[in-house]
Symmetry: D3
Subunit: 140 residues, 6 copies
């Protein structure tokens, strides 16, 4: 049995966000979200690790050409970079842009873009909000 | 099928330990444990990554509120921080405080504390003794 | 001649900012500030290294007690953490919150707070906007 | 049910490589491999994380003695360190020394060396070509 | 007296090199250069930190526009990236490409490019061959 | 005028220490040293950066041969590694093993060892107790 192999690439973006629910009182917002309620948002440098799975191509030695992977993922990451996620993007109108939710949105967006590629599939992503806080998303 | 999600938080503590078995000769201790036999112990900065699994709450966007997670894990980590693990804690009287054993003890302690929380479970921990040496503990 | 000694402590805060001058056209803003003009700001995790100089106290072995240093610097850092620097703080009404300007403001604030302490002076600060971009501020 | 445990150790080596197929035209090589076609090769600092699985020995508290693990893995790593992988080693005559292929070769070499040890098996390796590019290899 | 300020940016390149003097015997080469004599060279990921000094421009808040700095330094770094320094570049025909010598060459090249810019000067560079080995170059 | 050059190498050791003065009451010790008073000590992974200055040798391209530097510094570091600094070493009988004091002791020991080498001198050391706490020692 041959071992399994994946290749992973790190991407980066800087964004700001705010945790706030209009349908909650200020007290309830403060209790749930602490400092993250500050009105104009605050920001982070996010690191995004994207792991893809597939066969190593016998001629190129690659699961996926990194230029291809970078082209696909950067097209998505550019929509998050230097943005205020609540207002500048369409994905966080209804959901709070927590690390968990941002990661799930990114997983879905990348997964959809990679699907047309034969023999490649998105195995896993990890999103770091800081080096000490991160979400993992994957499908079994 | 929705993707799986986890959230992870890093904690830190500094502790010292000694590898030594009284029921072994000095020669056997030296052979098995090398420098780690030094009589007064030696120390490390440990990094502990705690990964929890569960559903993302639709209103808060969180698997677990980080203040809650920090409260729970810090209560445990405080019992290891600035301690000589062999003498200052109850867990390493019978077992050597290797990275593997410390990690298993931490997993069990955190797992027990998280159990009462509905919909959350401890997925995985990783304990770094140094950046180049670490143990992983998890349940399938 | 005795060697010189300093002690340094790292602090962290997350903030968002925007580069924009109302007295410039949009074209001129774009040319000078690129992505950083986005209207609602974007964010970063900042790392702040604070270096203080002084004599090592013969009894405590310390230049400054770290609890004291943390108390002083955190009082300042708390005014930057989880803030939109342009709107939430008083220092960037007239000046653009670039890494250079934020660092100078922080240096002045910390310097002023440390002055009353006898035998201690602020030697140097380094402010990382990202791990690959940072400003240093010091007095000779 | 007892939790699963693994122990991991990081190893390092510096090597150079070239991506080039003699049976392809220069244009095709350039298109597939970009900068990596440069004739004399170029180099990297590789970080190799080796994860082994097994029971924690009740007396030593260890899955494997780290001196033993280091002896075994360094014997392999020494054949990659300070080498031009295409010319100085036997493994990349037919296959391109991409991160994926180097990782698979390393996995097989370490796996073979660890097999004679009872109760230990190679769970996983991760090979970093840079901090932002890495391959994972494992068997289920 | 206003504090001094600098801004620093990290750049990266991957290159390979060999330590060898044709006018020395193999024994003498081995004694001086150890593993670094391997015939086809070996490689590293280099990190280059470039620190520039000057006045903070009152309108932009910047010592130097980072796009300008990146344009200037990348033009130089591109001549080192994915190269075998001994053969692919003109600077190491007579001198051994040690960390010290590469750093001095880089300092001179960047310094010369920055000189035409008024009010800016190159304060310092640091070149990491690995995270645990680096050279610093500066002028007083 | 030629630029100045230094070469720096990182070394590592793990040690434990305790902050305690027998001539003080327990209250005074607690007030000054906090958690660091714990009776059996606690530990850290220390990183020591050693920076040496001198001319680049025209034939070897080196300020100092790294094997020579490693031999000299490791002879000293080995006396700190896996030790309880208060009891296992001679330097902290009278002085508290704070980061500042350990750094000064290391500077003096390395400085003395490097003095016999012609054309080399110890420029600077930095000692990290953690990644967020470090002391610098140097002579002008």
């Amino acid at each position: 049995m041959r071992p399994k192999v994946t290749i992973s690439k790190k991407f980066e973006f800087s964004a700001s966000h705010r945790y706030w629910r209009d349908d909650w009182t200020e007290e309830k917002n403060n209790a749930a979200f602490g400092l993250c309620v500050s009105p104009y948002g605050h920001g982070h440098n996010y690191d995004l690790h994207v792991t893809v799975s597939g066969h190593i191509h016998p001629q190129t030695g690659m699961i996926i050409n990194l230029s291809k992977l970078k082209e696909i993922v950067n097209e998505i990451v550019d929509q998050f970079d230097h943005k205020y996620l609540n207002l500048d993007t369409p994905w966080f109108k209804e959901v709070i842009p927590t690390t968990e939710n941002i990661a799930v949105v990114l997983f879905d967006l990348i997964d959809e873009k990679l699907k047309p590629l034969s023999d490649i599939f998105l195995k896993h992503i990890r999103l770091y909000e800081r080096s000490d806080l991160y979400a993992d998303v994957w499908k079994d």
